[in-house]
């Protein structure tokens, strides 16, 4: 009951937010929503299933261009284009499955880095479709003949998508699929001995992760209204990775917090010209040192240590692959 009230309050606050916030803040909030969905996607893959990726900007780009092109070239409505873009991006996720079946940890990360770089190189060269380096203008999202062009309308669209994707992710991580992801992350052999097919669940993880990031990309193109290849570079991949790592690996609330924090941080720091990059870097280093389990892990440990359900796996372990191998 108390939870219901809590959620009611949170939802109504979110619903009423446009009444109090400036249009610019709403726009940043919409961007944060995009990154929440992308971070959820990365977290399913890296946080839960333990498959390191630093090429997610590639999926974000594919989703963004797919949605924009589906509307611009095929005249599809945006509410069809976004899920379709997600599905298409999901299928491209299988490209990374091939190296993932053979490589682990940092070696897989290098393969994903290559994927991100390849997408970033192909986009500007495929001028017929993408408009090259100049990028392309995204047609406005239109609902029942009315264009959704103000930040308020886009805010509600973003909110809806974020809530749906969060609920979906919650169901997934609390089901046998979520447990299978964690199982193959921590003990491949034991997972197999429990009947979990590594190939199948890695495939699920890559599809889901790319699907989420593709949805985020589709949303991004409508929120920003203009996309160009330069935005989807390695820096963007690392940006999403940091959101996940700071918020909390294998944590859904952590994904939300991490994405909100890192989207707003540069804007909070915009007053400190010159010092901006320094403060930004220092903040990240401090968080990594003092909150090894991310924001959410930090909050949980202080507020409800006895209710800890799952511990996020420390980032250090994912990177170093210090897994507890079943030895002879």
């Amino acid at each position: 009951m108390r939870r219901l009230i809590l959620w009611g309050v949170v939802l109504s606050l979110l619903g009423l937010a446009p009444l109090f916030l400036r249009s610019y803040t709403l726009y940043i909030l919409n961007l944060a929503g995009v990154y929440v969905v992308a971070t959820l996607g990365l977290n399913l893959l890296t946080g839960y299933a333990g498959q390191l990726s630093i090429g997610h900007a590639g999926f974000l780009a594919i989703g963004a261009y797919a949605a924009a092109l589906l509307v611009a070239k095929l005249g599809l409505p945006f509410w069809l284009a976004i899920p379709l873009a997600g599905g298409l991006t999901g299928l491209t996720g299988f490209i990374l499955l091939v190296p993932a079946l053979r490589l682990t940890a940092i070696y897989l990360a290098i393969a994903t880095l290559g994927f991100g770089a390849a997408v970033a190189e192909i986009l500007p060269r495929w001028t017929a479709l993408t408009g090259g380096y100049q990028g392309m203008k995204v047609p406005k999202a239109v609902l029942f003949g009315l264009p959704l062009d103000s930040d308020v309308e886009l805010y509600y669209l973003t909110l809806l998508i974020v809530i749906v994707m969060l609920l979906l992710a919650r169901n997934i991580v609390h089901s046998k699929m979520g447990r299978a992801f964690i199982a193959l992350r921590d003990q491949e052999r034991a997972a197999q001995a429990c009947g979990i097919s590594l190939t199948r669940y890695k495939a699920y993880a890559f599809f889901l992760s790319a699907f989420y990031t593709g949805i985020a990309g589709g949303l991004y193109s409508f929120v920003v209204g203009y996309i160009s290849p330069g935005e989807f570079d390695l820096a963007k991949s690392l940006f999403i990775f940091m959101m996940m790592a700071l918020g909390g690996m294998a944590s859904l609330p952590g994904s939300v917090l991490g994405a909100l924090f890192l989207t707003f941080l540069p804007h909070w720091l915009s007053g400190f010209r010159g010092l901006q990059q320094f403060i930004y870097g220092a903040a990240l280093v401090l968080v990594v040192i003092f909150m090894p389990y991310g924001f959410w892990g930090f909050i949980r440990r202080w507020t409800m240590p006895d209710k800890l359900q799952r511990l996020p796996r420390p980032l250090r372990e994912v990177v170093e692959e210090a897994r507890l191998f079943v030895r002879e």
């Binding site: 046998k176 964690i182 199982a183 921590d186 052999r189 079943v326 030895r327």
Partner: protein
């Protein structure tokens, strides 16, 4: 007919011959011990049955079916569950979640339906079953605890409980009491016998603790350098000259 038949099993790691033409069979309802000095090839037998390796030669049949044609994750579907020498638990999950992974293959709801929030009833039923099993082990209060923080002996019991959640026919136990004290060992021995009877299981176990092997195994197979050097009841094996030699003066301890 034997439940599990191993014939002429040979395994090589580089230049090392880990198993050399090993043959044995396990009949339904038996508790069979696999013993031998360190490096004799005991765990290799388990890993071959689990399909983690492909043998150089030989056959493994389970209920008459050729196991070597299966992939590792298909072995459980046939009814073979196992535990690991160094624990195969998922450390960052709760005890209850670990047990539910044991039920993985029994979920009827499809993965994508689960994403939409369907299949709650099935989840609740399995959860209740896992809680019941923990209760019987006296581990009920620990169901929400994260495995990482639990003592070693407790984890061994939890791993066995997870294996039981898979509804196996044959259970492979790799050193179920390694690192346990005498009381825990005795408890584990009694528990193994009890589950064999209640679940109608067949058990093959690798163990160094002779008090456990002598206490619960109906038959013992002794390996040394990948070969079977003796087989029989615990009492017979204990006095077998080859076994005494293999343990090289180390007296076979009987509690």
């Amino acid at each position: 007919m034997a439940l599990l038949e191993v014939e002429g099993l040979t395994m090589r790691f580089g230049g090392l011959k880990a198993l050399d033409g090993l043959s044995f069979a396990v009949a339904e309802g038996e508790i069979v011990g696999l013993i031998g000095p360190n490096g004799a090839g005991k765990t290799t037998v388990f890993n071959l049955i689990s399909r983690f390796y492909d043998p150089v030669a030989g056959q493994i049949r389970f209920q008459g079916e050729d196991l070597l044609r299966l992939k590792p994750h298909q072995v459980l579907e046939r009814g073979i569950a196992r535990t690991f020498q160094n624990l195969g638990l998922f450390p960052y999950m709760t005890v209850l979640d670990n047990l539910l992974v044991g039920r993985h293959i029994h979920y009827k709801t499809h993965s994508w339906a689960l994403a939409l929030g369907l299949g709650r009833r099935e989840e609740r039923a399995f959860r209740a079953e896992a809680e019941g099993l923990l209760e019987r082990l006296g581990l009920g209060p620990l169901k929400g605890a994260i495995v990482h923080f639990l003592p070693y002996g407790t984890r061994k019991f939890i791993e066995l409980a997870r294996a039981l959640m898979t509804r196996p026919k044959l259970l492979l136990l790799d050193e179920p009491v390694a690192g346990m004290n005498a009381t825990e060992t005795q408890m584990m021995g009694e528990f193994i016998k009890r589950v064999r009877d209640e679940y109608g299981l067949t058990i093959l176990l690798v163990e160094h603790d002779m008090s456990l092997v002598m206490g619960i195994c109906g038959r013992v197979i002794v390996l040394d350098f990948g070969r079977k050097i003796a087989e029989g009841t615990p009492a017979e094996v204990q006095h077998h000259p080859a076994v005494i030699e293999a343990y090289l003066g180390e007296e076979v301890q009987v509690a």
